[in-house]
Subunit: 214 residues, 2 copies
DNA sequence: ACGTTGCTGGACGATTTCGTCCACTCGCTT
DNA sequence: AAGCGAGTGGACGAAATCGTCCAGCAACGT
């Protein structure tokens, strides 16, 4: 289910080498998330991870391979987070409410945007090889929402007229767009508005049997 | 109302120089929209606009000044489009419906994303001077929606419980997020879903007096 | 007609950044 | 203990890109 990239290359590494590779990856992911892709040069990664220049070439022959690995790293993180028991498979309105609350209430994650969305926006126009990978990750993300919403509908928690696929895209778009606006405005307000409006819209489909306010 | 940048520098230019400056600007805007900021080097701009290297430095001393001017160029375009009579100040549901239809029905504008959103995502993390300019543009954009929605509420076209500011953020976020998802998926579906869901949500506030389906 | 101001052109230097190369060290196996 | 492979280190070369410099050209006013 995970994207599983770079495992082939990591198989023939000793524990020490694998640890070094992982260390590079973590620091690179943090730097790219913080400063963007093309503002993160190999010297920054080198200093942050405490490795020398040749090791980057050793574990990640080109910068593209590093970026690709970072995408998978963030993808696993984001998808894992959304698949955690915390949100109960997104099959209740409360789960979506908890999800939005998480981003709104947790201090400052909006300053750097979405780890995947920001990255996607930055490189979508340049590297076409990365395109398919990103598309797959977003498709999986959307599928998490869609499956949950579809289950809600099958269980009669929301009206049959609700379109799970459409609502899933709405949530994902509200989140991505809200993150962008919040990032630009340096204010979480737009994200909060977008997400709460999305949840409000979901509530309009809640069947009267199942209605209890959050 | 317009952002009005670079006008100071343009004032002491002859018509010929001003034409050259405008030509550079147009081609740079198109290139940046198509290929992104940091994939658009001055040689590409030079060849596209048919000017020599020194003219870029003449009219735009640094790349940042060029990007700044391009932002204003796109900002004027986007804000002007939304302020056109076409959408009647966004004070009817049909106006919002027409707005979404425009993006969904017009062939392929989603492939390169939103001219402002993509640009914002790419440089928000790098150049801090650009930050404020972008924030102002998005605030104006949001304000167009908010004023229209507020007017709708005052006219009783939508319920008093509707929050214009929140709905405005929702529309903008749905558009930006939908554009990003459509761009990554190379499919307009996500944008269509997000925008139609946003309009659907707006419809839930329509008062019974004013209800006529689109 | 002539000079000043603005416009144009190509070439150059400086900087950044990526990726490679060779030499050295560490740990494990024989 | 010796050898081999993996891991490590720093330095180097190559490429791209930005911005500057100086010289020639055009246009306008006096």
């Amino acid at each position: 289910m995970q994207v599983n990239n770079g495992a082939d290359a990591a198989q023939k590494l000793t524990p020490k080498g694998q640890a070094t590779r992982e260390r590079i990856l973590e620091h690179a992911a943090a730097l790219i998330y913080r400063k963007g892709v093309h503002a993160t040069n190999n010297e920054l990664v080198r200093r942050a991870a405490g490795v020398s220049g040749s090791q980057l070439s050793h574990y990640f022959p080109t910068k593209k391979s590093l970026v690709l690995a970072v995408i998978d790293w963030h993808a696993d993180s984001v998808l894992g987070f959304h698949r955690s028991e915390r949100f109960a498979s997104f099959d209740t309105v409360e789960a979506f409410q908890d999800w939005t609350d998480f981003y709104v209430l947790s201090g400052r994650p909006f300053e750097d945007g979405c780890s995947l969305g920001s990255l996607a926006s930055e490189i979508v126009k340049t590297d076409l090889d990365v395109h398919d990978r990103l598309a797959e990750v977003f498709a999986q993300w959307r599928e998490i929402f869609r499956v949950g919403l579809d289950r809600m509908r099958q269980l009669g928690r929301i009206d049959a007229s609700a379109d799970p696929a459409r609502l899933a895209d709405m949530f994902l778009a509200a989140y991505q767009g809200g993150m962008l606006l919040a990032q630009v405005a340096r204010d979480i307000g737009p994200l909060q508005d977008a997400l709460s409006a999305a949840v409000d819209h979901l509530r309009t489909f809640v069947t009267s049997d199942d209605q209890h306010m959050g």
